[in-house]
């Protein structure tokens, strides 16, 4: 099984130079640590920044500079600051090319649920609904199964949906899968030590397996 950092490390391999990218809270935020330094990308924070830098040192902390998770951050050289309306204009306008976010469930047609669990306190969707409705490429970081072993890659989401037919790729703790436009999870890679049979057993939605499925490698 992949650790959270390994999921982030694997997702980072999907990043291409020249992209503007929005990273969600949690594992997606860790992706920034694994983007190769020679790739020129710009990280967007939906509260109004293009060009998120590393976390600050104690001396650099500025309460007027935070990310969407309300963490203190720094800016890289060449950053730009703007309002929330401008920020979501660039998101809805399709200018942010890649969105990486977490999910509680994904369906085989690419629906995503990640904002609400009935019976639990609802905190809100934040910017997730705008992001998933807008980006051309959406990659999800998630656990393949719930703690009690139920698949989270489903025929249909059981939880309230955040967006429809939007997820393009999933990196779970067990596998990398494409979500095909015609529906279905296409298995691309398996986590070290995880068999195809285990992935079949733990995927409720339609799973497509063609040929040998390579094992992921980590340095």
């Amino acid at each position: 099984m992949l650790s959270k950092d390994q999921i982030a490390q694997r997702i980072a391999r999907e990043v291409k130079g020249g992209q503007y990218i929005n990273l969600g809270i949690g594992i997606p935020t860790l992706v920034a640590n694994y983007i190769p330094e020679n790739l020129e990308v710009v990280l967007q924070s939906e509260n109004g920044l293009l060009g998120i830098g590393p976390f600050p040192t104690e001396a650099e902390i500025d309460p007027d500079l935070i990310n969407a998770g309300k963490q203190t951050i720094t800016m890289v050289k060449g950053s730009a600051l703007f309002s929330s309306a401008e920020s979501f204009a660039m998101i809805r306008g399709g200018h942010v090319q890649l969105t990486i976010l977490g999910a509680m469930e994904v369906s085989e047609n690419g629906d995503i649920a990640n904002w609400k669990i009935p019976g639990k306190m609802v905190k809100g969707m934040g910017g997730a609904m705008d992001l998933v409705a807008s980006a051309d490429n959406i990659i999800v970081a998630m656990q393949h199964c719930s703690k009690d072993g139920k698949s989270k890659l489903l025929k249909e989401c059981s939880l309230p949906i955040t967006g429809i037919r939007c997820v393009k790729k999933i990196v779970s703790d067990l596998a990398v899968l494409d979500v095909l436009p015609e529906g279905g999870f296409k298995l691309l890679e398996r986590a070290p030590g995880i068999s195809v049979e285990e992935i079949i057993a733990k995927t409720e939605g339609k799973l497509i397996i063609e040929g040998e499925i390579p094992e992921m490698k980590f340095d």
Binding site: G48, D62, I66, G69, S84, G124, M129, S134
Partner: protein, 232 residues
């Protein structure tokens, strides 16, 4: 130039009334109109509708207004950091409308810009779309959202001048510029108030036309929610 200066927060909020619709700039606790909130807490108000991306934390920001039971309804995108909020919501004392963050920003922008409704893809196929008009444009589905406007908007800027021109700093800008435009009466508090003419017109983020009252804030706490530092 028209002088918009008032002496302090208490004077700025003097005519805020119960059951009013209020907007508050800020994302989390960053860019929050701290002085205006403190002055509102001194008033005997209730039944307020508060439009703000977040609802503060238990002991800071709008969370303090919730604690005093001044708020009837919150319109926000994310409210996860506040236990008193949760308690009032679950007990039915507080009404809450959760809105996708980009839709919230655009509804406020539309309110200030005189656009009564617009179409957005955010929320199509979700419970946010329930009861809303859905239309297809160029092969994609969008839902209609209405503008938001307020009786009073409270914004916080880094610098301002006596005619109400504002400059923000860092990510503390967030919802402040749109909310300034969407308020019938907009009250701006600034860390540094200067005479009109001292700010470079090229650098103004919010033109003074949107601001009715401006004052020099005091004792900014600028609390940090998630103090995160790099290990080095």
């Amino acid at each position: 130039m028209i002088n918009k200066t008032v002496a302090n927060a208490a004077e700025a909020v003097k005519d805020v009334f119960s059951d009013a619709v209020l907007m508050f700039g800020g994302f989390g606790l960053s860019g929050l109109p701290e002085n205006s909130i403190a002055a509102l807490l001194e008033k005997d108000l209730n039944g307020l509708t508060c439009i703000s991306n977040n609802a503060g934390v238990d002991d800071f920001g709008i969370g303090l207004m919730l604690k005093k039971r001044m708020v009837k309804k919150m319109i926000s995108s994310y409210v996860g950091e506040n236990a008193e909020f949760e308690r009032q919501l679950l007990s039915g004392e507080l009404e809450v409308e959760l809105i996708p963050q980009g839709t919230l920003a655009e509804r406020v922008r539309a309110g200030g810009a005189g656009i009564p409704a617009f179409f957005t893809p955010a929320g199509v196929g979700t419970e946010v779309a329930e009861g809303k008009e859905i239309r297809e444009f160029d092969g994609k589905l969008y839902l209609m959202e209405r503008w938001l406007r307020a009786d009073f908007s409270f914004v916080k800027a880094w610098k301002g001048d006596t005619s109400g021109n504002l400059i923000f700093k860092g990510t503390a800008r967030n919802f402040n510029p749109m909310m300034a435009a969407a308020g019938k009466i907009t009250i701006a508090e600034v860390e540094e108030l200067v005479p009109a003419g001292e700010l470079d017109p090229n650098q103004i983020h919010t033109p003074g036309i949107y601001v009715q009252r401006i004052f020099q804030g005091v004792n900014y706490e600028k609390r940090i929610e998630q103090r995160t530092i790099r290990k080095s």
